[in-house]
Amino acid sequence: MSQTVPPAGLALHVALRGMAGGAVLLLAVLAGVILGETPLPWATVHAALANNLWGAGLPVDAIDQGIIWSYRVPRTLVAAACGAGLALAGVVLQALVRNALADPYLLGVSAGASTGAVAVTILGIGAGAIGISGGAFLGAALAFGLVAALARAAGGGPAQMVLAGIAGSQLFNALTSFFIAKSANAEQARGIIFWLLGNLSGVRWPDVTLAVPVAIIGLCVCLWHMRALDAFTFGADAASSLGIAVRRVQIVLIGAVTLMTATMVSLVGSIGFVGLVIPHAARLLVGPRHGRLLPAAALAGAVFLIAADVASRMLIPGQVVPIGVVTALVGAPGFALILIRGRGRT
């Protein structure tokens, strides 16, 4: 924004960057489809994709085609959407709360979404009317509301928000466990606990049609407010005196964060560290301004979660490691590195 690029040059700049980002994402998705427990040759993948996308009619083994089109493609696309959504949620929360530790996981939003989803699944509360995603959204919104109210009562600073978030996470995780202990049979409980750790095994095409639009809408809403997010750099009062309608922007952006988090959690369980580590990594690469940070974080989150999903399938042969375990195994040391490298910068 502060480079003196004429408008036409700026548009070209943005278009070129967008295309480069799109190419990286496409490559990552293809890698996600090719790699797996049994890596499939490119010719098979190409044939399966061509047959399904534009009816090419190429000869390909029906089982391979089924694995690729009904299983790996949706799974990879949902991983990309989840990674992007969670990373965006982290960027927005860090800007609004003005705390480097803010992310949907630490602020209790993911825990609330899990509780909501579990309540719908096993207690059947409103199952028909709102569905699992709706339950997750209500749970996430309730958790964020409680956390924000607690932070406000405690004095309302950035540190209070994270402390309140920790309390909120604990509360909602406890509620989830309580629901499971009270109402789930052993089989259900095993499934839910596996899902809670993050699991993309059950993902099919209908999930893609939910996750991808939510991620794209989330990205658009955030990008529309990129200047407002920049204006929060020096706090909400400074944003207000720069002409930002603080209350309205907070509501819209928190709404977007809640929607993205709840959708992703309801589809794949609660995956930590993406919303925390990816925004920081993206900041190191492209700086703190949101016009570049938001797309960079979305792309990095998408690629990271595709990679984590591939790793979760390949790490132990014949067994799927929960993706949340993979993101934590990579994310925790990654975060430590960022903390050390960021010393003096932040």
Binding site: S2, T4, F234, D237, S241, I244, G287, P288
Partner: protein, 257 residues
């Protein structure tokens, strides 16, 4: 641009912090805001900027009630430099100044060459042009303060509200800032601690316990009785024969004269 208040006040938890402020600052005038610590200067400035929640009374800009105006329209007219506003972001100086353009930009009218020129000029005004690429965390307190002022200048406001902007500044930059402010064709309300610097304002408003104790030309406002009663100091007026200016020499009231 004329900014006026009528019976302006603000309370916290039922306790009045500022109350009954009625004043008017004429277009182009510089009003100095003085008063002891905790007398309500910062709160009054936040009220004038329209960012204090649930204000009592009214603030008007050219007769228009601030509460009826959009935030964006207010920000195009009023710039506010807070007493302390800091960030942990590794943001560059030029990006901090560019924030001042926020109320003039939209998704359809992005930051362009004209905005860049305005920001460069604002940075030059505060003597920070050569530091445009420095990271915020590497700046000293005084340099940060000057960046905030450049950010406010980049807002191209008609009213500037400054909360003790000379704090942290070395003597050269204090004087340079005060001259810059008096040269700008904008209305200024500036909270100041240094009463001798306050003598350079067109008028002074004295705050005491959240109320307006006096308002008027510096020489009329800063009387011996007021200095003693409100600031709890004695002051001897010294005259500089080269330009006839008055400066005070202060002493504690307990001290022997």
């Amino acid at each position: 641009m004329r900014i006026a208040t009528y019976n302006l006040g603000w309370a916290s938890g039922g306790r009045p912090i500022v109350e009954g402020i009625t004043l008017e600052v004429k277009s182009g005038e510089t009003l100095g805001l003085i008063g002891p610590n905790g007398s309500g200067k910062s709160t009054l400035l936040r009220l004038l900027a329209g960012i204090a929640p649930r204000p009592q009374g009214h603030v008007t800009l050219e007769g228009e009630d601030l509460r009826r105006m959009k935030r964006r329209d207010i920000a195009r007219r009023i710039a506010f430099v807070e007493q302390q506003a800091d960030t942990a972001e590794a943001l560059r100086v030029r990006d901090a100044v560019a924030l001042g353009r926020t109320p003039w930009l939209s998704p359809l009218a992005p930051f362009g060459a004209a905005d860049a020129a305005i920001c460069a000029k604002a940075l030059a005004h505060v003597g920070m042009a050569q530091m445009a690429d420095r990271s915020w965390s590497t700046l000293s307190g005084g340099e940060r303060q000057r960046v905030h002022i450049a950010r406010a200048l980049a807002q191209r406001p008609q009213v500037m509200l400054l909360d003790e902007p000379t704090n942290h500044l070395d003597i050269h930059h204090q004087l340079a800032l005060l001259r810059l402010i008096s040269d700008l064709p904008v209305t200024v309300v500036i909270a100041l601690h240094d009463l001798n610097q306050a003598m350079g304002c067109d008028r002074l408003a004295v705050m005491e316990g959240g109320r307006l104790a006096a308002i008027g030309p510096p020489a009329e406002v800063l009387t011996q009785t007021r200095l003693g009663r409100i600031f709890r100091v004695g002051g001897r007026a010294l005259h500089d024969p080269t330009d006839g200016a008055t400066q005070f020499r202060f002493h504690c009231l307990e001290d022997p004269l």
